[in-house]
């Protein structure tokens, strides 16, 4: 995994509790902006219900780990911190694995090996290292809730694209017209890459449209004028 430091230093004195909560949902969305925790984003997003279950289970692990890590943040020495965090996360993942097997067996079966693999999710460890290890319990909890919500949102977005195109349904409900031929490829492994690629592409296009710089047009103009002049010349030539 890559421990990518978040764009702004977390735990800045100026940031309020609301900002801690909202940061993960949009501005630093873990899936769509930070690109953390990619494996589940592509592996289990073949339906919205799976994506949602995965988001909730990851959130369970992340929030509880954030609480424990921020509680013991002054006790843990710098050298052994990552090992300690991994151990805490692994404990909660094991708990989540057992609990989900007991209470939501269908989701547990569908997600398979990807529940134990939450341990290796860069997002969970990354937030402990970047935020919970330096902030109070309350703010770490808020950050955990925000990041989990953002992660679930990202997963569900990819899941929506894949399920609508791949099976013509959304959350099990039929949304496409009956003569729609499902794109089977979106349910298969390549669909994970393609579906997430489509979501990122749409997001980039939207960002570009929103933040299109005004001077760009002035730069384009001479080239445009030149081209139209040359096409005019060609047209004239052909006319002649």
């Amino acid at each position: 995994m890559r421990m990518k430091p978040p764009p702004d230093v977390p735990g800045v004195k100026g940031s309020t509790a609301t900002e801690d909560l909202l940061r993960g949902i949009w501005k630093e969305n873990p899936t769509l902006v930070l690109l953390l925790g990619m494996c589940p984003t592509m592996a289990i997003t073949n339906s919205v219900s799976n994506s949602f279950a995965m988001g909730v289970i990851t959130g369970f692990v992340m929030i509880l780990s954030a609480i424990v890590v921020s509680t013991i943040r002054r006790v843990v020495t710098h050298e052994v911190r990552v090992a300690t965090y991994i151990l805490i996360i692994a404990t909660f993942v094991q708990l989540a694995d057992i609990l989900s097997e007991a209470y939501i067996p269908d989701a547990h079966k569908a997600l398979g090996a990807f529940i134990p693999l939450i341990v290796g999710n860069c997002l969970v460890l990354g937030r402990q290292e970047a935020f919970s290890s330096r902030n109070t319990v309350w703010r770490s909890t808020l950050d955990g809730i925000g990041m989990s919500a953002g992660f679930t949102l990202g997963l569900c977005l990819v899941g929506t694209v894949r399920e609508i195109l791949g099976s013509g349904t959304w959350f099990g409900l039929r949304v496409m017209p009956p003569n729609f031929e499902p794109w089977v490829i979106m349910n298969l492994p390549p669909g994970g890459f393609l579906g997430f690629g489509l979501v990122l592409l749409a997001l980039a296009a939207w960002n570009q449209r929103r933040m299109r710089p005004a001077p760009a047009r002035i730069v384009i103009e001479p080239a445009h004028a030149q081209r139209s002049a040359s096409t005019a010349a060609v047209a004239m030539g052909s006319a002649r």
Binding site: C39, G120, N121, P189, P190, G192, F193, L200, Q208
Partner: protein
């Protein structure tokens, strides 16, 4: 012998860890800019996979029989310490190799492919020899995927990609195409 060949091919091609099972995507998307780096990372991954497979077999046989609920915790501890020991050993015996691998060596700890190998091996009930074949196959598949991706991305440097699609989106579409190509190997399954 036939079983071993089949385990190897299945781990390397039919259910390729990166392109079909979506494991170890962080390094797959993050550090595949150069072929040389990709090869080195692939070999380091393979080495750690082999060590993990051996440790997982030992743990399953003698430690986890009485306490299966400690599986995830004990696997991750063993993997983390194994990577740490490997790192120290490499640093001591071959400083050149250590410098070449750089940051990738410690990062292997949280590569989910490593933990997944230990879990799959346990779930499928592989013994020592089968586990070893499985880990070598998985490592070969990982290296193959990394090299393929890095070669395409080296060529992509010169291509004219629309500004919107630059970056991760393009890489994901390439990965999708590679993944589609690897789905063709599913035909091997019916051959045996």
């Amino acid at each position: 012998m036939r079983t071993h060949v089949w385990i190897f091919l299945s781990a390397m091609l039919v259910s390729n860890f990166t392109l079909v099972m979506f494991l170890g995507l962080c390094s797959f998307l993050g550090v595949t800019n150069k072929v040389a780096t990709a090869i080195r990372l692939g070999l380091a991954d393979t080495f750690v996979l082999i060590i993990t497979s051996i440790s997982a077999t030992i743990l399953n046989k003698w430690v986890l029989t009485t306490a299966p609920y400690l599986r995830i915790v004990s696997f991750i501890i063993v993997i983390a310490s194994m990577v740490q020991i490997t790192e120290m050993a490499v640093k001591k015996w071959s400083p050149t190799l250590f410098r070449e691998l750089g940051i990738y060596l410690p990062l292997i700890t949280t590569n989910c492919a490593i933990l997944a190998l230990a879990i799959f091996q346990t779930n499928r009930g592989y013994g020592f020899a089968e586990g070893l074949t499985f880990s070598i196959g998985a490592g070969a598949g990982l290296t193959l995927a990394l090299i393929l991706m890095a070669s395409i991305r080296e060529k992509l440097e010169l291509a004219d990609v629309p500004a919107v699609a630059k970056g991760t989106a393009t890489v994901l579409f390439i990965a999708g195409a590679l993944s589609m190509a690897f789905m063709g190997f599913a035909g091997l399954m019916s051959a045996t």
